[in-house]
């Protein structure tokens, strides 16, 4: 089950103005608080944050909304971003890299997510493989990428730690995006 959260709607509630720019730390903190409240009332495990109504995301808001949310909800939810434009990617990628965090983002018109932020190269490759082929176990990933079991296990461990795959039994599932 996915909980879609429209960031534009929360922004309008937070600043009580018609602006579509996600800027300033207090605004970002107010939006994040609303996201957390929404998630607290939800039984869904995946939060799909929809940025499609947003014009500009500055560094401060990227930090307050995305980075701090990931730090806060790290053990509770899977977070996926959608509706991001290229310039949104840049701000979010910058702050997440700074924190050594990563998040999955679904490009417009696609169901296949890409990673923003920082993960080890192997984890990035494993993420792409699972997103493309579907759920895999350690040996399946090893077979798919020609890696040793140990290397595959480490990469999947990284992705699990960053809530970028859903481990169910022996299998690692791609995050739900629709």
């Amino acid at each position: 089950m996915i909980q879609t959260i429209r960031i534009g709607l929360l922004l309008r509630e937070a600043v009580a103005s018609p602006y579509r720019d996600l800027v300033t730390r207090p605004t970002g903190a107010a939006v994040r608080t609303r996201i957390e409240a929404t998630l607290a009332d939800s039984k869904c495990l995946t939060a799909l944050l929809d940025f499609s109504d947003i014009e500009l995301v500055d560094l401060s808001c990227a930090d307050e909304v995305v980075a701090k949310l990931l730090l806060t909800v790290r053990t509770a939810y899977f977070v996926v971003l959608q509706g991001l434009r290229e310039d949104h990617h840049e701000a979010i990628d910058h702050v997440l890299t700074h924190h050594r965090l990563a998040v999955a983002a679904v490009p417009p018109g696609s169901h296949s997510p890409r990673l923003l932020g920082w993960v080890r190269a192997d984890a990035r490759e494993a993420f792409a493989c699972i997103s493309e082929t579907g759920p895999l176990d350690v040996s399946g990933l090893s077979h798919g990428l020609g890696w040793s079991l140990c290397r595959s296990r480490d990469a999947l461990g990284d992705l699990t730690l960053n809530r970028l795959v859903r481990p169910v039994g022996e299998l690692y599932y791609p995050l739900q995006t629709a």
């Binding site: 600043v15 800027v23 300033t24 500009l56 500055d58 560094l59 401060s60 307050e64 840049e90």
Partner: protein, 300 residues
């Protein structure tokens, strides 16, 4: 006794120090007269510098200073069009005929002189700049379309520094003009100034110890602009200036920050400025200037 401070004929970041020197010790004990009669041109940095001085004097509970407006009609009209006199009238006793501002149609003034006191003001600034910025940055300067959004991000971060660190309000202005002498190209200039505590006092409690005897205005600027530190312990802080530097490097832009008695610049190849100037005349708060030049590949 009245202390007369002459506004330089050509008032920009280079001539700013002579303006600052006119005030002597801060805050000056005498009544102040800021004399702009002979001024022929002022950059956004100069205009908001005058307002910052007026604001600092008001906050120091000094007698309301006088400001004689430029004699040249063209100069006066431009200052009016930039919204300068609207704010100056609150901080100075104006002497001389002030024209009514009548801004119509596209202008090189991308953002009027605008006060920044709270986060809501930053929203307003970013919203106001969006249309004009695209016209100038993409249309005139030949920057890619996504440059407009990076530019707005830089503006947002620079203005937030006032709200978060100055401890008082400040000013922002954005303008496009031609850098004839220095560059021979069109540029867009963001100027942000406040009359607040300055970088040294803002960072002192968290970072002074690390610098030991070196600590001062210059070291504080170095910590903020080169090392990207913040007074907050939050590890997400300090990224705004880092991001601004990154995209300015890509566009051969320039950032300089003056605070207290020092000025630190990231100097692009086209400029001959020195990276660090120390022991300058004291001026309250912090003044930031960001210059983005037209891209050479367009042959501008």
């Amino acid at each position: 006794m009245t202390r007369v401070i002459e506004v330089p004929t050509h008032f920009d970041d280079r001539s700013f120090d002579s303006f600052a020197a006119g005030f002597g010790e801060w805050p000056p004990a005498e009544k102040v007269l800021v004399d702009a009669r002979a001024t022929q041109w002022a950059s956004p940095y100069g205009l908001i510098g005058i307002l910052t001085a007026g604001q600092a004097l008001a906050e120091a509970k000094r007698e309301k200073p006088l400001l004689t407006v430029p004699t040249a009609d063209e100069v006066k009209r431009y200052w009016a069009r930039a919204g300068f006199f609207n704010h100056a009238a609150e901080l100075f006793e104006l002497h001389g005929k002030v024209p009514r501002s009548a801004a119509t149609g596209p202008s090189d003034v991308l953002l009027d002189v605008t006060p920044v006191r709270a986060s809501e003001d930053v929203h307003g600034v970013v919203h106001k700049i969006s249309e004009g910025a695209s016209r100038i940055l993409h249309g005139e300067l030949g920057l890619e379309m996504k440059a407009t959004l990076r530019f707005s991000m830089a503006l947002s971060e620079a203005c937030q520094n006032i709200v978060e660190h100055a401890g008082t309000g400040g000013w922002v202005a954005v303008q496009a003009y031609t850098f004839r002498r220095r560059l021979g190209r069109r540029v867009v200039v963001i100027a942000v100034s406040d009359a607040g505590v300055g970088f040294r006092r803002s960072l002192e409690s968290a970072h002074a110890k690390r610098f030991g005897e070196r600590w001062g205005d210059g070291a504080a600027l170095e910590a903020a602009l080169i090392q990207n530190v913040s007074r907050f312990r939050d590890p997400g802080r300090g990224q705004g200036l880092a991001f601004i530097k990154r995209f300015l490097d890509q566009w051969e832009g320039k950032i300089s920050i003056r605070s207290g008695t020092a000025r630190l610049s990231i100097v692009p190849p086209w400029d001959e400025d020195v990276p660090m100037s120390d022991h300058l005349p004291h001026f309250p708060g912090s003044q930031v200037q960001i210059i983005i030049p037209a891209q050479e590949t367009k042959g501008r």
